[in-house]
Amino acid sequence: MADQIKLQVARYRPGQESEATFDDYDVPCPKEWVVLDGLNHVKDRIDGTLSYRWSCRMGVCGSCGMMVNGEPKLTCATFLADYAPGPVRIEPLRNFPVIRDLIVDIGDFMRKLATVKPWIVREEEKPLSAGEYRQTPEQLDDYKQYSMCINCMLCYSACPVYGLDPNFIGPAAIALAQRYNLDSRDEGSAERVAVLSEHAGIWGCTFVGECTKVCPKNVDPAGAIQRYKLTAAVETVKAFFMPRGAQ
């Protein structure tokens, strides 16, 4: 096992540089260190100007997504030793504007996410005295997979459609819309259909499938999108053939 490993870290200092450059850092490489540990070592011991996001260090918060040797990864769950003898190239997530060094602007996603109403929509709320909304384990199972999304943006970074068409709502937002569409307590699917059924919604997806491959939580956004395509197609046929109000 190598004692040290070289990190090639993308740097972008707005106001000083017009494009990204790379700085090399040699960091320790014990078997239990993840890429984020390497970056923290650089920040603490070598170069305090390096900027990146992280928080939980346990694959829950979704803040430390970066490109590691060209692949979107959660750096808290990616071991340095797997890349020995190195070097390890660390870049900001692809398809997003870079604010500084490894920090990207995910404002576009946050704006799009709100348009699909990722919360439980009720036509009429029950009074508190009526108690909680109950679900069977089978009903929970219908959407639980999609509820595991941590908004880490790895799927957007892997999706060439999002890179080529910035209007595309994107994998995570659609998966999260499906998370609520499939929830037995939700009554908002009709409100989401207008956004999801646009070209920039599900029909923009050409099913490359990379979003599912890179997802660290096994959410399967590609599956969510294809499932909704099937639902939307069936609803369109029903709307065409069935009398108004009989759907």
Binding site: F96, G163, E210
Partner: protein
Amino acid sequence: MSQSQEQPEYQHRVLPPHISTFWWLEKGSYFAFILRELSCVFVAWFVVYLLLLVRAVGQGDAAYQQFLAWSATPLILLVNIVSLLSLVFHAVTFFAAAPQAMVVKVGPNKVPGSLVLAGHYAGWVAASAVVCWLLLGA
């Protein structure tokens, strides 16, 4: 224009995203995706070819024989062989994607993806058997 209230202050200094024209060569899975998309051209070709066949049959024996002779020319033969390979690739990759799109439930239980996939192949075999029966047995 004054500083927009919706645009953060850093907006004018960000490094915009860039995607290469040759992004589809960067990963094997991207390249396989492009091949699958390209195979649609050959699907369209087979539709046109089938329509030409139907038209030739409708125009009588002479036109049909002429169509067969044209189909046997090296160029059309080559195009059809490439098209067949493309269609098989298209079908296999399409079927492989089917379990992701179709969540079939029997009662409270989900049908495993492998069974959904097997159902597609069974349908393919059945359709092929019908075509073979029409061509050879009927």
